[in-house]
């Protein structure tokens, strides 16, 4: 998903905007994860995975021992902060943002899911077989799976759910992306068919799904909410807001939802999966702005740490330091080059711009370690991440030499350069300012920043070809497969490749990786492609997000995953 900064703003305004709910997020993730956000969202892309747009809370006393009671606040309730504000929807077919997905994955389930080790594992399907032509997946459903109201989950329910997601009336923004590989989904979306021919009910507990070509990443896509199962009677009962009384299959049920205040999840005692959810009630607190204060007052069992509180929680002498967890995110901020526009039509110029930025200093000083420098395209720990990737490291002398070696020959011969960013504030944010300053100091190039609010920025970006020279944006993983980054963003014909980057060698590797079934070979193909892309300098990979969380000592098993997965079932309250 897109990831945009929530309103880059000047330091003064930053404090104010720091309090925004992830407006940006929403924006960001519009597509996003959304996202944005403050997404704005970020354009509203407001959408987004939480990683992208954490709400920054105000803070309280520094260097004072946390007033946390050592005893659990309650034996059967956890109160957790809910970072993104009110979820735009709880309808799995419509959700495309992290805020919505975070709740949906607890309430609903699909054929497959992702476990805490980030592996794709069976969920409502207990097993599956793949045909010899690699195009038909036959899923065997669990015998014991039930909706929250006790009704058994059948193959018909899945057929209904997929066809509903692909129904143009559902207005799903992501049905093409996540289900479009299934034969017949695009026809249904375009009103050329009434059902989805690629989904067949073999019997009550057996479902066959046929896709249009062999795609090794297809299962990964089914972990996203778009492919989750819903109960037809439930959907038919409540108009377009039926999801406010959802009958799902997940480890938690929606107990109550008070707009702007809290979402209360209650344990599903007939949950089929493992582990069984332990905590009876999980309250997600939406009314934000002061999560850190409330955590220190013992009103919350966990909190996100904003950039203004980082210093004191990193201080080993502070009691809070023992409650700290660092959670790397599957997200990356980058600057994209339009390789069809001067001066970035010359790879040497792109490489020079890469080598002119000291990302490490920016990450540590400006971003206070809430991010780490990115070397390549894939974030650390993501499937396919390559430890041995040769990145374009900071080297101002070599950068200057590269400009001299380029077809432009000298800095003075470069055309005017504009960096486009999205946002609603006065400035583009401290890290963008630092980057532009480094271009000036290390290369002697003046780069102008042009800021547009998300909707206009998106419109510019989506023009084919677009008129931008370089732009700053981010990407958040949708599903754990390198295809989600490398193929979607760099394949020559991909709709999300806004750079006009089209390297035949890369295209070939990506095509081969799509159908390669040996996972080791497949990863190898992706790593080769990634190395070429990085050496070609199609991007300046900037930063991978690091989130900081505090958890009370009595909270056990609560994980802070790098992207949205079901997680509450692992949590318990100890002593």
């Amino acid at each position: 998903m897109f990831k945009l900064k929530a309103f880059p703003v000047s330091p003064v305004v930053l404090l104010a905007f720091a309090l925004l709910f992830s407006l940006g997020c929403a924006l960001t993730e519009v597509a996003t994860s959304s996202e944005n956000t403050p997404a704005s969202s970020a354009p509203t892309q407001s959408a987004n995975r939480p990683a992208a747009t954490p709400t920054r809370s105000g803070s309280t006393p520094r260097n004072t021992p946390a007033a946390a009671p050592a005893q659990p606040r309650s034996a059967d309730e956890l109160i957790l902060p809910f970072i993104g504000g009110d979820p735009p929807t709880l309808d799995p077919a419509v959700a495309q943002d992290a805020t919505s997905a975070e709740v949906i994955v607890e309430i609903y389930g699909g054929l497959v899911t992702i476990d805490k080790d980030l592996k794709i594992v069976p969920d409502l399907a207990e097993s599956w077989t793949i045909s010899d032509d690699k195009k038909t997946y036959t899923f065997k459903l669990r015998g014991d799976a039930k909706f929250h109201n006790g009704k058994a989950v059948t193959a018909q329910d899945f057929k209904y759910s997929i066809e509903r997601a692909a129904d143009p009336k559902t207005e799903s923004p992501v049905a093409d992306s996540y289900l479009g590989d299934i034969v017949g989904v695009r026809e249904k979306l375009n009103r050329k068919a009434t059902d989805v021919s690629g989904v067949k009910v073999v019997d009550d507990k057996t479902l066959a799904i046929t896709i249009d070509a062999p795609k090794s990443y297809f299962l990964a896509k089914l972990t996203y909410p778009t492919a989750f199962v819903v109960d037809k009677a439930n959907v038919d009962s409540g108009g377009r807001t039926w999801f406010l009384k959802p009958n799902g299959t997940g480890p938690y049920k929606l107990g109550s939802y008070n707009f702007g205040q809290q979402i209360v999840l209650t344990r599903n005692d007939i949950y089929y999966g493992t582990p069984k959810p332990q905590v009876k009630t999980v309250t997600l607190s939406i009314s934000g702005g002061s999560f850190m204060t409330r955590y220190e007052n013992g009103e919350l069992d966990s909190t996100f740490v904003s950039i203004i509180d980082i210093d004191r929680v990193l201080d080993p002498t502070n009691a809070l330091n023992k409650e700290l967890t660092v959670a790397p995110q599957f997200s990356i901020d980058y600057i994209g080059f339009n390789v069809s526009k001067p001066p970035f039509d010359d790879p040497k110029v792109r490489q020079a711009f890469n080598m002119a930025i000291d990302k490490k200093t920016i990450a540590e000083v400006v971003l206070k370690k809430t991010a780490q420098p990115a070397n390549g395209i894939l974030p650390p720990k993501f499937p396919g991440f390559n430890d041995n990737l040769k990145g374009l490291t900071f080297d101002p002398d070599k950068a200057k030499q590269l400009i001299k070696d380029s077809k432009y020959g000298d800095v003075s011969k470069l055309p005017e350069i504009t960096l486009n960013v999205s946002g609603g504030g006065g400035t583009a944010g401290p890290e963008m300012e630092a980057i532009v300053e480094m271009f000036k100091q290390n290369l002697g190039v003046d780069v102008q920043i042009q800021q547009q609010e998300f909707a206009s920025f998106l419109q510019e970006l989506n023009k084919r070809p677009n008129n931008l020279q370089m732009y700053s944006i981010g990407w958040i993983a949708d599903y754990p497969d390198p295809q989600d980054f490398l193929d979607i963003l760099f394949y020559g014909d991909s709709l999300d490749n806004h750079m006009s980057y089209n390297n035949p060698q890369v295209n070939k590797l990506l095509e081969a990786a799509r159908i390669e079934t040996d996972s080791k070979k497949r990863i190898d193909l992706y790593q080769q492609a990634e190395q070429i892309i990085v050496s070609d300098a199609a991007w300046i990979p900037l930063f991978v997000g690091d989130n900081y969380w505090l958890d009370k000592p009595y909270v056990k098993g609560l994980i802070h995953p790098p992207f949205v997965i079901p997680r509450l079932k692992y949590a318990s309250i100890g002593r």
């Binding site: 998903m1 404090l15 925004l20 509203t44 207005e171 377009r240 998300f454 909707a455």
Partner: protein, 321 residues
Amino acid sequence: MTAYIVRRLFWYPILLFAVTTVTLALGLYGPGDPAQVYLGKHSDPETVARIRAEWGLDQPFQVQLFKYIADAVQGDFHESLVKYPGQKVTDLIAARLPVTVSLNALALALGVLFGVPLGLVSAVRHNRSLDHIITFGVISAVAIPVFAVSPFLQWIFARELPFWTRDTFGVTIGLPPGGWNGVFSASAVLPAMVLSPGYVAVFARQTRAGMIEALAQDFIRTARAKGLVESLVVMRHAFRNALIPLVTIFGLGLAGLVGGAIITETVFGIPGIGLLTVDALHARDYPIILAVTIMVAFVYITLNLIVDIAYTFIDPRIRYQ
């Protein structure tokens, strides 16, 4: 009087039509496309076209306009497109209205409570130092923009103050820097501090001006001449005459209750109409923008009418034909 009211009511549909047309036109012809924002990274041309068709955005402007009006007349203000897909705009507004109204009402009440007495003192002490101090204070208060003063107040009262109080008293006295737990909670204090000075200033200035004029009238001299105590002169004779413009401001202030304080709600993360509007603007979520605009216009027109009618009760000399 009845004829006057009927004539005024006649203008309702015309004004509301104009507001709707302009808002929709600005939305549809301005930069940005809601379908594109909705789809975000998945906004390939084919999908954008599909969603636009589903939303009726491919229809000609006048078709969209008249369909909207036809539905709105029957109370159907459509569904949110981008921000809260599928949720009825009326539900979204209803959920946020209490937040905005209660916050603005608090600010308005503080404005009257502090503004009117300050204006009275100012007028009685006309051109003396107390008058100058008050005038300087209220003009400064209204001149400093909300977006400048808010972060400053957050810094003082939510961040710095707690450290200081903990060191001094051993307890934390601090205000939440944002969020919303109701108008009677600590989270309302900072927003009210930011919102009320504008009201205080308006009421103080208007009271002062009206009182200075009233105090210069002949009947005040008469009242003093017949030996009335000064407080009675000021409150009963002069103030009553200064009341008319205050009622106007108060009426418009009431109308302003439903319009969100966009900047304040955004800065403090208060889930009211203002934040909804900003979110909708960023997302190009036209149904929300249209409905909020129409609601605010409707309330303003209505309160204007009520204020005009209220004049006849305060000042029997005012008559409408």
